[in-house]
């Protein structure tokens, strides 16, 4: 594994990571605070009206496809979903979730960069040969000893 150190390249990488994460936060905030077209239509039921008018136009067009759409479940389509949801409807819900994701990713970035230092001891060691193992391995690949979570033996040796 590459040793981590602060230099121009790692600073650039971290900056790109923060910019990407920030894009999620900004989009989330934008969605939360404003009813945007697209999802904004969903709250007003305009979406259903648009679909109905598209169907109507298609059926009226000379030689056009006589396509009609009837929801299998009456009332399940967008009209029923109108005016409900969290903090401004569906737009707000996805916005809120994106802000939560933003907060989680920022927290994780800070944790990974400043709390976890290189050279920390491995999470687990094989109880038999003392080599580093992953905690979810069922057996040590070096000596073949059976492992329980955390590198412990499945049954105490001896």
């Amino acid at each position: 594994m590459k040793p981590f150190e602060w230099n121009a390249r790692s600073i650039a990488t971290v900056a790109i990571a923060f910019l990407l994460v920030a894009s999620v936060g900004v989009l989330g905030l934008w969605l939360l605070l404003s009813g945007q077209p697209g999802t904004g239509m969903m709250e007003s039921g305009e979406h259903v009206r648009m679909m109905e008018s598209a169907d109507h136009a298609a059926s009226m067009a000379p030689g056009g496809a006589m396509a009609t759409v009837e929801p299998t479940v009456p009332g399940h389509a967008m009209g029923v979903h109108a005016q409900r949801g969290v903090l401004g409807g569906y737009t707000g819900t996805i916005g809120l979730l994106m802000i939560l994701l933003f907060a989680g990713m920022i927290g994780l970035l800070f944790y990974a960069l400043f709390r976890e230092r290189p050279g920390r001891p491995e999470a687990a060691q094989c109880w038999n040969c003392r080599r580093p193992v992953e905690t979810d391995w069922s057996a040590c690949p070096y000596c073949g000893a059976a492992l329980a979570p955390g590198g412990q033996p499945l049954t105490p040796p001896g």
Partner: protein, 482 residues
Amino acid sequence: MSDTSREDARAATLAGKLAAGPLALGGTPRRPGVAGTLERYGKRLLLHPLYPWAGRWLMLGFFVLLTYSAFFGRPDPRLNFATVMSWVVWWPLLAISYLLVGRVWCAVCPMGALSDLLQHGIGLGLKAPALFRKRWLVAALLGVAILYQAWIEEVTRASVSPLVTGFILWSFTVGAAVSGLVFERWTWCRHLCPLGAWSGVFAMSSAVEVRADPNVCLASQCTGIFCYFGREDRPGCPFHQVPKTMQTNRYCSACGNCLKACPNDAISIRLRPPGREFATQSREMPENALVAVVAVGVVAFQALVMTEPWAALRQQAAALPLLSNDALLYGALVLACVSVALGLFYLASRAYARLTGQSWHAEMSRFGFAYLPLALVAHIGHNLGHLFNGYALVPGALAGLAGRAAAPAAEGAPNLVLWQGLEIGLIVVGLAITAWAIRRICASARIGSPRPLAALPYAGLAGLYAAAFIVLFALPMATRVT
């Protein structure tokens, strides 16, 4: 080294190879017949230098079109490439792929590919935080991820909104990209991706597995663990696994890295009965087994919220103060479905423990997996219904992508009886696989009491779950993008 010691070393090597058995001399033995042929071609594919990157580039191109269409395409979800391809085509095909090839989607996932490209270019390569290896956190993340991916689709109505579909795609892409920039290997796919969590659980029921032959590893006296660490410019397992000791498909995407890195030809792809790994796991952890039962509840939730009776119930719930909020209503419903599935499983485990004199806690850890095939085929059946209902939308979505005006095609199953029959037939197949898994787990537990009687609570529960799915599938169901 003297001649004598060289001779001794050669003799020790030979003795080691002979002790490993005749099969160990050379590569993994080949199976005869159709299965063997399929395995050989599967191995060739995994060893091909273009695999999986050819698929990844193809999917990246597809992903660019999808994202463009989500943000700038037609607002009508029936004519939008992103909604039709994501929710009507890709989602059902993904469900089928779990059974046939496990979580192979992860090997060609465009978000994973983007993460890898960034990682190899400018990534910091830090180890995943030790926090992610805490057993309680792994279980909590898995549970949250599985519930979240079911809940978010309903609450945000992503399948009828191209823009919401786009925002979900963007969120996942940023998560994968940032993880690739900061961490090593596939940290996002393994620890954080909600879809990866769902895929990993269902991959345990798949009909293929990538495993190493320990005899070959032993005979070759391999100490480099190249399948894990990689060799020269060939990377090791992105999921931190060692095929020689791996007992589950949960963290295997069949990406082929281990096959390419192994210098001893010890690793191969094998066909197997779906669900065979449930009886062979030596590490019985209750949280892993309970996830399978949680999957039953989540799949039932996904089917229930698209039925006609649910639409009527939802109208009534809208009049109540708290349940008029979709996030709370769907959150409460998914938790209720999962709680019922877990509660029934708990009762069956208590009954089984009483009949056999075993600890109910240990039995829950052992038998939970058996319900996974049933959950998977129910998931496939439900999504196949949507595929049959909506495949006629694909030409319109393609025309919409090309900017041509098109009228939306009519949705609806061409033959309702046929696809409902298929769904119910799949449930019967799933029930049979679950019954077989229960029998295998019973046999491996070596209990003293008569087997049919002891297995009755678990078998009865499987029948109950199957009956519930059949009832759900027999109800009229809404289509996905209208």
